[in-house]
Amino acid sequence: MAKPSLLSPLKSAGFLFKKPKTLRYPFELKEPAQRYRGFHLNDWGQCTGCGNCADICPNDAIQMVEIPELEPKLGEKKERPKLDYGRCCFCGLCVDICPPGSLRLSRDYFHIHFDTDTFTFLPKDEKANQENFLPAEKYSVLKASLSHRKENYEGFVSDLQYTLFEPERVHMPEVSPEERKVSFIEQVIGYNREEAQKEAGRCLGCQLCEEACPAHLKISDYIKAIFENKTDESLQKIFEDNPIPAICGRVCMKHCEDACSLRFRGEPLAIRWLKRYVADTTKDYKSALEQKHVKPSGKTVAVIGAGPGGLAVAYFLILKGHQVVVFDELPGGGGTMRIGPPLYRLPLESIDKDVDYIHSLGVEFKFNTKVGRDVSFEYLLKNYDAVFLGIGTTLSRSTKVKNSKKCLLALDFLKDNKIGKQCKVGKEVIVIGGGNVAMDVAREALRLQHMQYPKNSVVTKAVSLEDWDEMPATKEEIEEAKEEGIQFHPAWGPKEVVLDEKGCVKGLLCMKVKSVFDKQGRFAPTFYEEKERLLEGDMIIEAIGQAPDFSFISKKLFDQLKFTKYKKVYVDKNGMTSITGLFAGGDIVNVNLDAVTAIADAKIAVEGIDKYIC
């Protein structure tokens, strides 16, 4: 190569006369990029205090601190992230993991201060802190600091496509509506091992669900065990708090999933199905669970009702060494679970699996034994050290409109179909009610119609006082009912059951509903009297609620039983009613009316009973 010239640099001499390219900061400002990773912003309204940001932070720059004045909603913690800018590297992993997307980075990046304490702070945003976030006209870059920031100055924000968590659930295989509406085949097929592990792998371990679960199951632990394919360990974890996983894995009202932090921008973790997976894949509970030998205490406890509450009380008491006898009028265990949830949701084998295990531990079950008929309540109170009342609600309410005697009641209908003789249904069935029981009744009636009249056209109509948005049944239940072809007639109230000349049901006369609740939120339906319509049907089933049956308790004792203002049996913090030695739990005590709350009641009662008798 030839030697370069000495003169060539002179060609650049022209630059001497050009304007410099440098910015005259701070008079000329350079706007940070749209995605700039600067100081944190946190929307306190959305933040749940789940702590995933603190867990993912590579530098331990985030600490969860308790905020005493916060009033957390269900599925929220009283904590908020606190940043230490001596440690933070502004990588933004906390933004990408934040399930509700409340934590973001702004485009501010100035903070100069003599006091090192000011470098740690609780990020908020302009919604919660107008003092430090200023509009553009009041903002000056010369004063910029953590307490002088521009409002609406978001930088790096979370994007659902690039999150570190998986927002979508592993699809649960189900029997198609066409197939399932003609039989009682179980609708949900259940996860296999790969699916369960994959779904369990979505859990972030933030434990918001555990707070929300009435029985406080150690959800994140048993989910982690599923992920690691240790189903036995998982089952052990479940059994610490819940002895009926096969039942709860199918019909639990899953308060946990309502609290799951993945719910904000995706589907909550399928906690219920995962519990079911563990219960179903374990062939034999006994070999999976360690039975510790406990010294018998010599005390005996009677449990009235073999529903979830009664079963849980029996299980936890026998673990403490007490002798337990369970009385139930049904031929098997499960209580309401045995008669209520239709076969396509909760097969009898699953109930028996749980009950049999509890039985195998030494709990004595006296089935087909109705307290008050076969054995007196007073006898139990006298001869046992303690009695647990877990009778649930066994009487169906009636609308009591004209001719309502011609209607069937929900529980009778469900019970007969599940453990007795199948009912003969009409071709046009009307179900009154908008709750989950009404959905069960309607969907069961539809199946029976398809089975009994395979060639004819049949229809099931669901009439409810509530409109779509107020209907108490769960969304998925309504959705599945729609898929199967149930006709909905929301916001119509029954006025009269219309009979034909022979006295057979011809239809239901309805009135349009004006409102269901009054201003205080109490149930007080009002109607447009003039807007009437006749729904035709040859069979009407009422499913508008249940009530407990206390007829077995003598008047004298019943008068001693205190009730709360919600007409529930009053219990103290030990689960004991106002009658000494009588404990209670389940639907007669709580307002949630579900299995897992009954278990929660049972756990309280067990501690109370244990304290009382020892």
Partner: protein, 173 residues
């Protein structure tokens, strides 16, 4: 890897294990006695680029694994054989109690700093190495710091003053 070379290796060295290629990567495990001969055989067969010498402390198995990563400098541009794409991971184990090995400098000159580093961080002595003096570290350590039984966090808390936690004084929000 070309089969002749594989044959050559298996016939010449006892106990050599060659794993099948996995996306341009071949793993060879050899006895510690034969490592230098394997290295020079590979070098003379085209794998003339020593990319890295590394060491892994398998504390539970009580051994150090020395890892030599070799690849081939290509001869000409635009002619790519699988050989140039291939990385060979040559491994051997030495006892953890007796951390001694032979230097590979006679075969690959750039082994020098790598071995020096392993000596410093793992405490493995390389025979024939001209200067096993400290490379990176300033302090003396009882346990060489990259061994698995060296607890970094414990060392830091034992030796240095704790980092004052900022914001302890007053909780400013």
């Amino acid at each position: 890897m070309k089969d002749p070379l594989k044959d050559k290796l298996t016939s010449a060295f006892d106990g050599i294990q060659i794993q099948p290629a996995d996306r341009n990567q071949i793993s060879i495990t050899a006895n510690k006695e034969s490592i230098l001969s394997v290295l020079s055989l590979l070098k003379s067969n085209g794998y003339n680029h020593l990319a890295l010498i590394s060491c892994v402390d398998w504390i539970e198995e009580k051994r150090f694994e020395l890892v030599y990563i070799l690849s081939a400098y290509m001869e000409k541009d635009k002619h790519f054989t699988d050989m140039e794409k291939t990385n060979i991971i040559l491994k051997t184990s030495i006892y953890r109690e007796k951390p001694q090995f032979i230097s590979a400098i006679p075969i690959f000159e750039n082994a020098e700093p790598y071995e020096r580093e392993i000596h410093e961080l793992y405490g493995i002595h390389f025979e024939g190495h001209p200067r096993l003096t400290p490379l990176f570290l300033e302090r003396e350590y009882k346990t060489p710091p990259f061994r698995k039984d060296f607890d970094t966090r414990k060392y830091v808390s034992d030796v240095f003053d704790p980092i004052p936690f900022v914001g302890k004084k007053a909780d400013k929000r």
